[in-house]
């Protein structure tokens, strides 16, 4: 099985309030530059540890992830690690011009010599407050944008796109990607509809934090969509993202437990309700329907993989067998509350323990499925 890492590029500087959006007056460039260097050091540690891909994602206005433009970061990392495979998993497609994004990924694929995987995501609710993106149109606009993005990467003649949400009358991107027809593209599959769409589009699928039974059900939707499109995914097409932190004692491992409540902890109820409205809109709730605060709550995440290598290895294998995944992507630490040195230490221990063990499971997995 393949083991990938998601490096969030956390901000390791002093901070007074940790709400979202984090007030930018608190940003200290010295700490910021050092934090970005810490991110690279974590990537380099991950490469030494044997991770199959080093991944980033787009997030905005937050101390948790200094990567509003992960493509930049991926390009620089590619120079520092010329043999590493890199994934940008991914970009919040509805926030962007899909044609420009296709251009940027094609350029990155050239700069990295064909070492990049692409992720196209709808984004979390707070991201819709970043540039003022309409959440009610998000689902349909996203599907159209994916089709346009792929068309832009593959169409050999200048063309125009007359869509429902996008209109570009003159597209002919240079450079074209190195990987043909295009780099592997991962779509999120956290709902039955999105899972099916990923299969229909012949893309990889990514799940985040879901319990195994939800994940397994969505894998079936994914496979059904793929069958309709005339292809059969393997476990290697299916990635699961989860927080993971190991230590040689439980106490050391607990240092990596992410404090997720801190992300929106200082936000006003109006902000929280607005993000809830956005989340509901993204899930298909019609415009103007009032939210019931009693039914709002944090999403149901499966417990993170935290503990000794033996325990975590058991947790991952159990999850893998239940959900039918072939790739895991670890978020190691994931928030600035986990010190950089502890992240490096945990990554190194992964390289000695769970990564070789999971790599050796590759053949088991193929036979089992």
């Amino acid at each position: 099985m393949r083991v990938e890492i998601f490096v969030p590029v956390s901000y390791y500087g002093p901070i007074e309030t940790r709400t979202w959006p984090t007030p930018s007056r608190q940003y200290d460039p010295q700490h910021g530059m050092r934090s970005m260097e810490c991110g690279f050091e974590q990537c380099e540690a991950a490469f030494r540890a044997g991770f199959d891909s080093i991944n980033f994602a787009e997030h905005h206005y937050s101390i948790n992830q200094l990567s509003p433009s992960p493509i930049f970061y991926a390009g620089i990392l590619g120079q520092r690690l010329p043999d590493a495979h890199i994934g940008v998993l991914g970009s919040d497609l509805p926030l962007h011009n899909p044609v420009q994004l296709a251009e940027e990924y094609a350029m990155l694929d050239n700069l990295l010599g064909g070492r990049v995987n692409i992720g196209l995501l709808r984004g979390t609710p707070n991201e819709y407050l970043t540039y003022g993106t309409n959440p009610w149109e998000s689902k349909e606009a996203f599907k159209e944008a994916v089709r346009l993005f792929i068309r832009a990467l593959t169409e050999p003649e200048p063309f125009g796109w007359e869509g429902r949400y996008y209109r570009y009358r003159n597209v002919s991107i240079w450079p074209q990607p190195v990987q043909r027809p295009h780099p592997r593209i991962l779509l999120s599959g956290n709902s039955p509809d999105s899972a099916r769409f990923a299969g229909e589009m012949h893309c990889d699928i990514g799940f985040s934090f879901q319990p195994p039974e939800t994940c397994a059900a969505n894998v079936e939707h994914y496979r059904a969509g793929a069958r309709d499109a005339g292809w059969e995914p393997t476990a290697d097409n299916i990635l699961y993202r989860q927080f993971c932190f190991i230590g040689d004692t439980d106490e050391k491992a607990e240092r990596g437990r992410a404090d997720l409540n801190a992300l929106f902890g200082g936000a006003s109820m109006d902000y929280i309700m607005t993000m809830g409205m956005v989340g509901a809109a993204m899930a298909g709730a019609p415009k103007g329907v009032p939210l019931d605060p009693s039914k709002m709550g944090p999403p149901h995440f499966d417990p993170p993989w935290i503990g000794t290598p033996e325990k975590v290895l058991g947790d991952i294998r159990k999850f893998r067998d239940a959900a039918g995944i072939g790739r895991v992507e670890f978020i190691v630490g994931g928030t600035p509350s986990c010190p950089h040195e502890a992240v490096i230490e945990s990554i190194a221990l992964m390289g000695e323990t769970i990564i070789p063990a999971l790599h050796a499971d590759r053949f088991e997995l193929v036979v089992a499925r």
Partner: protein
Amino acid sequence: MIGEHFVERHVEADGFALRYWEGGVGDPLVVLHGAGGPVATIAQDLLAAQNGVLRVELPGWGEQPNDRSASLTELASTVVAFMDAIGVERAHILGTSLGGAVALHLALDHPERVISLVLESPAAFRVGSRPPVGLSPEEMQRAFRRHPEREPVWSPPEPEAMARFWPIVERVLVATPDFDESLVQRMSSCDVRTLVMFGEYDGVIPLENGRTYRRNLANSSFQIVHDAAHDIQGDRPEAFADTVGDFLRRGMAFLVPDRDTLINP
């Protein structure tokens, strides 16, 4: 009702009694139908707000039989004769599928009569296509329409009508190669301003054929219409009329939007 502002007329041209429907005021837009015959559409109603739309019934699709027209070139000549008969010196030409192939030949043979050319899912190149015969009604509907519920609701041609005009289609189109190299050669010297449109889900003629027009017509634009199949006017009439109307009004300047984006002064 769709097409209610169009007036049915008749004219003698090239030895045929031709029926046509006229609507709107403005630069003339001659509309040439696909193999199924002329259809009134929302898109044409919208275009009639800026153009004098002339929806022509090609010879053989009406009551009068047509055993004579032997090629796309001959059908194109008949259309030119129609323009002569009604006193139209130059016109925009919009051709759909088979009508697109006729329109292309008209532009190649009579470029001086064409202001600009619009090819909707044109059938001049048909690599990888499947003729819409022998399909079940459901298959045929999927090939033509992503949204069969949109007005006008799609329905297959009546068998007796099909028996009347399909031999003409066989003669002028099906008998020609799917990819005609000599046509490509002729296109390379054509500078008629051309808009080529294909539906993203065209189940009759794969949209990849659109590239051939873009590659070989120097003054052309190739537009892919999302969420549309072969019958773009039926699936996305507003998008079709918007794109075509903008192209007819502004030529290649349609590549740049002219709508204001100022939010507030």
